[in-house]
């Protein structure tokens, strides 16, 4: 048995490893609540497991899991005024338990998201194995394939795309970048992290209860007709979105209140602006979709007729896409911010039109709530399409501000083509294609023609993998020296980046073509004339998957075994570079006093902090 550090200095207390205890308490709580429910509410035939009993059992299991990993000592006992016997671990074990240090929580989130990315990516590989042939040969039933699509999409959207940059890099970097010693609701973020494994495992095992066919959208009336696996979809998404809500709350309050003196709104780092805007989007739209899915769950369990074929299917679609389109911006807004965070550093040139880049983020946030119905043009009258088509095209203008700032900064610069620098350029290139095809899709004639084809699938993968995932990997390389104190191998970083760039563009540009050739999404079989293009996509997708895994291996290797990194390898001006690498527990020994913006380079750039000599980083 491993030991955690005890609260007193006099002796050590042997405790069960928190994750093991979490699993144990989750199992006990599940069996207990399931048994009680089965006893109180015997269904026809008296089965031990019913849809109602597993739902209630699941709620107990998640609570047991959270308490077991450390929320019992970290939150519940203090709530009742009891001092816990065991404190937080201070060695490597802290990464495997409830933690309140924002850097530990950030690394936990990054690990959870990274594992979920590999898992959901692996499921995508099975989909491409199936689609490498025009007939079914890998999956036995079409519902198996559709379940794979749904699990892949839901895990990717709710535990990777929404989480990696906000819960992961946001938790780690935002307090450092604003000169804070900690976050305001550190316990909330610590708790939120442990909802990610709970949600991912729930989604991953959902097909055990029966195949579900709705995809990541939970569409009705499909959901009401599906087997019981759809229940674990609703529950898994509830856990994952709750994680993002509480992290967003913590980050917004931290950004508003914990900025160091001189970190004014006009000087706030770009990445922090991105996290602020996306957190506000999370706080508005995630509770909305949570309640929608709770209603769908009740529809199923009670049962009710709110959204099924006897109810109002259209209401469910509206409620889903009210959240669903802002979700796309929840994913890519931090990526836009990363472009303009990293480019000035790599170019060593002042950020062009910084104010407009910030305004762009804010207007994307505001307009994202006005465009949802372009996902439903096939359900609408012609006259109703116009405003949504208009606003969807309009949103490309503030999006363009991010491009404008990036290109303006690159213009006539001596850009350093490091691995993060290269990946950011690739992200911009990819997102340009995703964005332009999005403008096509905003036009009803094109939309109605390519609706539900692989053209749409290619479009959003260009925005999400091409835009967000490439930026995420860029940011991992960029901040690796800060988080680990070590440096990656530049050759392997660039080689693998070029690898994934070629594989990605081969796979998804071909997917545009196969969509235009008439291939529907959501089908495991297709006419034989589409086979050659699909085979190309599958080969490129597998290559892409291998490339992502190799990137992960390289980053983990560099984290542990890479050469020692200099204190500020990129000559970045933001505050995280003014402390040790990795940073000490409270980030800064002395609070920085900021006196100038972070993106001014050149001979005439003023000092950024007044107390630079006191902030001299100490290598740890």
């Amino acid at each position: 048995m491993a030991q955690n550090v005890v609260a007193t200095n006099t002796h050590k207390v042997r405790v069960m490893p928190p994750m093991l205890r979490g699993f144990l308490w989750a199992g006990i709580a599940f069996l207990l609540l399931n048994s009680i429910t089965a006893a109180i509410r015997p269904d026809v035939g008296h089965p031990f497991f019913t849809e109602v009993s597993i739902t209630i059992g699941w709620v107990g299991a998640v609570i047991g899991w959270l308490l077991g990993v450390g929320a019992y000592e970290g939150m519940v006992l203090p709530l009742f005024g009891v001092t816990p016997r065991v404190g937080e671990a201070t060695d490597w074990r802290r990464y495997f338990a409830f933690a309140t240090d924002h850097k530990v929580v950030g690394i936990q989130y990054l690990t959870s998201s990274g594992c979920a990315f590999i898992l959901a990516g692996g499921i995508a590989m099975t989909m491409r194995i199936e689609l490498a042939s025009s007939t079914m040969y890998f999956f036995h039933y079409s519902d198996q394939y559709l379940s794979a699509v749904g699990v892949h999409g839901a895990i990717m959207m709710f535990s990777v795309a929404t989480v990696a940059l906000v819960g992961g890099l946001g938790n780690y970097m935002v307090p450092l970048m604003i000169g804070a010693k900690t976050s305001v609701f550190s316990k909330l973020s610590g708790l939120g992290q442990w909802l990610i494994p709970a949600g991912v495992l729930t989604l991953a095992f959902s097909p055990i209860l029966g195949y579900w066919t709705t995809g990541w959208r939970g569409y009705e009336p499909l959901g009401s007709q599906d087997a019981s696996g759809i229940i674990f979809y609703y529950l898994g998404v509830a856990a994952l979105t709750m994680s993002s809500v509480i992290v967003s709350l913590n980050l917004v309050v931290t950004i508003v209140f914990n900025r160091a003196p001189g970190v004014t709104w006009a000087r706030l780092p770009m990445f922090v602006w991105g996290i602020l805007t996306v957190s506000i989007l999370n706080l508005i739209w995630l509770p909305e979709i949570q309640m929608t899915f709770i209603l769908q769950l009740l529809d199923r369990l009670v049962p009710l007729n709110l959204f099924n074929a006897a109810g109002s299917v259209l209401t469910q679609l509206e409620l889903f896409w009210l959240f669903g389109h802002p979700e796309v911006y929840i994913v890519v807004v931090p990526a836009f911010a990363l472009w303009n965070e990293i480019i000035p550093v790599m170019a060593q040139k002042s950020l062009f039109a910084r104010s407009w880049a910030v305004i762009g983020l804010i207007f994307v946030m505001m307009l994202s709530g006005l465009v949802w119905a372009h996902h439903m043009f096939t359900n609408m009258r012609n006259s109703e399409m116009f405003p949504f088509s208009f606003f969807t095209e309009m949103i490309s203008i503030p999006t363009g501000f991010a491009f404008m700032a990036a290109i303006g900064t690159l213009w006539k610069s001596r850009y350093r083509l490091t691995t993060p620098g290269l990946l950011i350029l690739m992200s911009i290139f990819n997102f340009l294609h995703g964005g332009v095809t999005g403008v096509f899709l905003a036009d009803p004639p094109v939309n109605l023609q390519v609706h539900d084809t692989m053209f749409v699938v290619a479009h959003f993968h260009y925005t999400i993998i091409g835009g967000m995932v490439f930026s995420w990997i860029a940011a991992m390389y960029y901040w690796l020296p800060k988080m680990s104190g070590r440096m990656y191998n530049e050759f392997w970083g660039k080689f693998l980046s070029i690898w994934i760039f070629i594989a990605f563009n081969t796979a998804f540009s071909t997917m545009f073509l196969v969509g235009l050739e008439g291939m529907n999404r959501w089908v495991p079989t297709y006419p034989p004339y589409l086979h050659p293009l699909n085979l190309i996509i599958s080969i490129a997708a597998w290559t892409l998957g291998v490339g992502f895994v190799l990137h992960a291996v390289h980053i983990v290797w560099a984290w542990k075994k890479g050469p020692r990194a200099p204190e500020n390898p990129w000559n970045g001006h933001t505050l995280e570079w003014l402390t040790s690498s990795p940073p000490p527990q409270h980030n800064f020994d002395v609070t920085p006093e900021v006196i100038d913006g972070f993106y001014n380079y050149g001979d005439d750039a003023d000092p950024i902090v007044a107390n630079l000599s006191e902030l001299k980083p100490k290598q740890t």
Binding site: L79, F80, G81, V82, V184, F185, V245, L249, N250, V252, V253, T254, V256, F257, N258, L283, I284, P287, E288, Q290, M291, T292, I294, L295, L298, V302, L304, N305, L306, G311, S312, T315, L319
Partner: protein
């Protein structure tokens, strides 16, 4: 140095309060969804079998409970821990009575579940009741803690947050009553 620490504490306190208000604002959104779904599916229809007097009694109990909670906060602001504890316990007691009335009303099954009105009635008021149960748990926790944590007029944030939450859930319960029993 002490001045800096005091400023930090003051800022931290302001952050907690602002953050909690933001949390409560965010919690309005699920109720907006519920009210919208009811309007989309059922307009402003009110079932003739709904017991407006019983619902009114529940709403009144909730308002009384809110009053007790708010007055307990006033007591601790005046450094009166004993009064705070008594009023907090009264808020809990009246809150439990509210829950008992809700359970009694539902057990009467005067509103059939299988109707448009009924399914919205039970889902919205059910969600509201869930918030009430969560609020009761927090109030009980604070009541227990008040004996150990030495609340005083300088240190009562936990009690304040619990009270704010209780007021929020109480007001949503009262709005739900008006929306489902009268409009």
């Amino acid at each position: 140095m002490q001045e800096e620490a005091a400023l930090d504490a003051e800022r931290h306190s302001a952050a907690l309060q602002w953050g909690f208000r933001l949390f409560l604002m965010v919690q309005v959104i699920p109720f907006v969804v519920l009210f919208t779904v009811r309007y989309e599916l059922d307009g402003y229809y009110v079932a003739p079998t709904v017991n407006q007097w019983l619902g009114g009694a529940s709403a009144l109990l909730m308002l009384i409970s809110i009053w007790y909670a708010v007055s307990s906060l006033s007591a601790i602001r005046q450094d009166d821990l004993i009064a705070m504890q008594h009023r907090m316990k009264s808020a809990i007691g009246v809150g439990l009575l509210y829950m008992a009335l809700i359970i009694y009303e539902w057990s009467q099954r005067s509103i059939p579940v299988g109707t448009r009105y009924g399914e919205n009635f039970y889902t919205t008021l059910g969600v509201s009741a869930f918030y009430t149960v969560a609020g009761l748990f927090v109030l009980v926790a604070i009541a227990v803690r008040s004996g150990r944590a030495h609340f005083n007029r300088h240190n009562y944030w936990d009690a304040q947050a619990a009270t704010w939450y209780w007021v929020f859930q109480g007001l949503t319960a009262v709005v739900a009553y008006i929306y489902f029993y009268w409009i």
